[in-house]
């Protein structure tokens, strides 16, 4: 005992983001992401430079929010309230118009990013709620919401099928869920460059880019969660950067740093330099920039209700398609 007491704890070369209460040996297989670390990362991103750094890198979320509001405007229905899951500073909520929506409740894991922008920038009434999306039903009663939207936050959720079920439960019958979630091809350039660099330099790989949902799985997940009248479509946002380093900086300022449980907190600088060289040679454009792809899956699903239109029984058709087409 005496011998150990005199020994100093080993010096840490860098601050690990999370005291990681999660024991990697006993966690369930559905736990992939460190939500505590993610919350800290988002808080720090929103606080850096008084929020200005975070505002500079809003371009991906704003672009996706723009495409999502077009889909939302297509719903010919007025909402007295909309719940925005993982709203961040309100990229989507800012675009809501008062003739369709009365009030928006923004919900996010990170308090600082939720409160980054003042109320004046919103056209509709705003309420903010700090809550982990994974524990939606802790605060939101069942059958209470007319519409739930989520713009680029569900890719950090551990149990995606479970969260989709919670969303469906929180909706009123005939309520709508509309979401944008990052798909598996997102950042494939960065993923491949880092993998090649790690294999060639260090002889092994470790996850640096999250696993993300496959577009083909999303419609299955949605119908398994109990949504009907599904619409799933895929779109890509491609951004060009001067080099890989600007991409890494911007991802950090977006609060999108790596938050995989058991991730390596350190990338050797040789490996980073190698990845930057590979990124440029493998994916670089002729004008000297490097592209980064964000694959976005848009989801629309409705909670079943008796008055909803339904497909007829199989074999109940009376009109022949052949006659109609001839």
């Amino acid at each position: 005992m005496l011998a150990t007491r005199s020994r100093l704890p080993p010096l840490r070369s860098l601050a690990s983001l999370s005291p990681s209460q999660i024991n990697t040996a006993t966690r369930s297989p559905l736990q992939v992401f460190d939500r505590h670390a993610k919350c800290l990362q988002k808080d720090r991103a929103a606080a850096r430079d008084g929020g200005n750094r975070s505002r500079t890198v809003d371009y991906v979320r704003d672009d996706v929010a723009n495409r999502m509001i077009e889909r939302f405007r297509d719903i010919k229905r007025n909402f007295s309230s909309v719940l925005d899951l993982g709203s961040g500073s309100g990229h989507f909520a800012k675009l809501l118009e008062s003739d369709q929506t009365k009030k928006v409740t923004m919900l996010d894991l990170s308090k600082l990013s939720l409160e980054r922008d003042p109320d004046a920038e919103f056209e509709v009434q705003v309420e903010r709620l700090v809550l982990d999306e994974e524990k939606l039903l802790d605060m939101i009663p069942r059958n209470s919401q007319e519409a739930i939207v989520s713009c680029l936050s569900l890719h950090w959720v551990n149990d995606l099928p479970g969260v989709l079920v919670q969303i469906k439960e929180a909706l009123k019958p005939d309520g709508v869920f509309m979401g944008a979630i990052l798909g598996g091809d997102t950042l494939f350039e960065l993923r491949t460059s880092l993998q090649l660099a790690e294999v060639e330099r260090e002889g092994g790989i470790s996850p640096h880019v999250s696993p993300m949902a496959d577009p083909r799985d999303m419609s299955n997940l949605m119908s398994r969660a109990g949504f009907t009248l599904l619409t799933v479509d895929v779109d890509e946002v491609s951004v060009r950067y001067p080099t890989m380093w600007e991409l890494l900086d911007d991802l950090r300022d977006m609060g999108e740093n790596n938050a995989i449980i058991g991730r390596r907190h350190l990338l050797h600088r040789d490996t980073l330099a190698a990845a930057s060289a590979i990124y440029k040679e493998l994916h670089g454009q002729e004008d000297g920039t490097v592209p980064a792809t964000f694959q976005v899956i848009y989801l629309i699903g409705w909670k079943p209700a008796p008055q909803q239109p339904k497909p007829l029984e199989r074999g109940s058709g009376k009109t022949s398609l052949k006659d109609a087409l001839e």
Partner: protein
């Protein structure tokens, strides 16, 4: 020749964090070596294992260390 404050400040003095210096070194100062290394990987990337492109990386790494050493 007008050494303006902007030109001096924007390149490396303001943002001279170690990572930023590595970024500049790996993409600008050692661009030639980086490109050689990258092309070696691209040529063999279906069958990459440890030290496939060691010779190219040694040159790249030497250039990086040389650049990062002098201030």
């Amino acid at each position: 020749m007008q050494p303006t404050a902007l030109a001096a400040g924007s390149s490396s003095t303001v943002v001279a964090t170690p990572l930023r210096r590595l970024a500049v070194a790996s993409t600008t100062t050692c661009a030639k070596e980086a490109s050689d290394y990258g092309q070696c990987i691209v040529a063999t990337y279906a069958d990459v294992h440890k030290d496939t492109c060691k010779a190219e990386f040694d040159k790249f790494g030497a250039c990086l260390r040389q650049t990062l050493k002098r201030r």
